[in-house]
Symmetry: C2
Subunit: 262 residues, 2 copies
């Protein structure tokens, strides 16, 4: 007996506005991932994203775009889909998504070999704001990000040399935390390159987010680390913990950077 | 000025033989990933895979298969491709690949915040062999895997309860280490679930491998860890270090498991 053929490919038209843009139109990778995943998820009967992988092919611009969703297989425990954000017929962000059911909040893990970052309280952390003179940043208009001062020496004009940034994140508008929101949050901290004294744009080549547990609402604790900054490429791994102390998302990206001239 | 359109989609027919199969035909996920990536890489002018993401849609069987490769964009520093292993018109493994140029072996990293696993010498490690009575394992016919005894208590019939497995890996046939080989190696250690006393099949849902440096030839040191084993899903992250002490690959997968009944 063969499985039924999956649903046909469908296309959704949408408009990318500047709500989450940096400056005049650089769109936030995490928000793009959430936007694409939310369309893809409608084409499966499984409720949650389990793993979402994106390769950023070219920077989308503001304006009309389409999201093409191709269901690959609708299995009993996992639904697999491919999705593409395109403009003028050219792929901009290519995504694979495996959907299923996340453990319910409060379910004890069989094993957890990790701990949430130890942070000062939100009021004792630094509200992440753009210094005056820099372009506006849509991420900071949509999210309240409070950075652990110990990991943000660059905000004081020096460089700690640490490849770690940590802080608290919540929605500025009171949006409730759900699995899709975690896709945005997993790419929301400033890049670890800031504290290394590496300036400039850090374009994401690839970003994969694993969702691990249904989150509860409240402040999220987020920590981002690089293991290797090497020859123009760096990895950033990100953990997101919810206010109940559950590990709710693990992300890793490969990004590019330009080494400061000696 | 717009970029030239990428090359058209192409399809390669191939036959999946049982060289890398477990038992009667369960094919190794890492070897499948390398097989697909090696076909995809021919469709770009960039020499190395930088990031390769696979979602395992359904288990392929032995026999005829096709690999469809769709170039998404051929940029100056990165080429982006989508590839699909299919049988009878159904997707089995769906892959995204970003290609570029890896740092040359011996290039000093700007920052490295990781260390190779500390292991006994290969001759003081355990040759990983299948216990008699179990099906043959193609991985162990193609690779010499020598496990750190401290992380392999399950080979002695007990369970260490550790979510880490480490060891040495090289080709059994003298194949030289290259970036594509690392895709196979990044999924070659036994699952961490063995030492947790979780038996049974651990199917990979998603596997992403980041390649970080051109490897030198010789024994590879490989370590695999789970951070969270929770409600039927676990992550396994894997680091591969070459014989010159370079971090050459970082992988992470999401896999399924069945919790032992209490």
């Amino acid at each position: 007996m063969t499985a039924p053929a999956p649903a046909p490919t469908s296309t959704r038209e949408l408009v990318l506005d500047d709500s989450w843009a940096y400056g005049a139109g650089v769109l936030h990778g995490g928000w793009l991932l959430e936007t694409i995943a939310s369309v893809a998820l409608e084409a499966t009967g499984h409720p949650h994203p389990l793993a979402v992988s994106a390769h950023y092919v070219a920077a989308p611009r503001l304006g009309a775009a389409s999201v093409e969703v191709e269901p690959l297989r609708e299995g009993r425990t996992v639904g697999s889909l491919r999705a593409r954000l395109a403009q003028d017929g050219r792929p901009k962000v290519e995504v694979l998504l495996s959907a299923g059911t996340l453990p319910a909040a409060g379910t004890a893990p069989f094993l957890i070999d990790a701990a949430p970052p130890s942070l000062p309280s939100p009021q004792d952390c630094l509200l992440h704001e753009m210094p005056s003179g820099l372009p506006r940043n849509g991420i900071l208009e949509n999210l309240e990000i409070r950075l652990d001062p110990a990991t943000a020496s660059w905000t004081r004009g020096s460089f700690g040399g640490s490849a770690e940034v940590a802080g608290w994140i919540r929605s500025s508008s009171g949006r409730v935390v759900d699995p899709l929101f975690l896709l945005t949050v997993a790419d929301a901290l400033p890049p670890v390159t800031f504290d290394l004294g590496i300036g400039g744009w850090v374009p994401t080549v690839e970003l994969t987010v694993l969702l691990r547990c249904q989150p509860v609402d409240g402040w999220l604790r987020v920590v981002q680390r690089a293991r290797s900054v090497h020859g123009g490429w760096l990895d950033e791994e990100c953990e997101v913990w919810d206010s109940a102390g559950q590990l709710v998302a693990q992300a890793r990206q490969l990004a590019g950077y330009r080494e400061p001239s000696a």
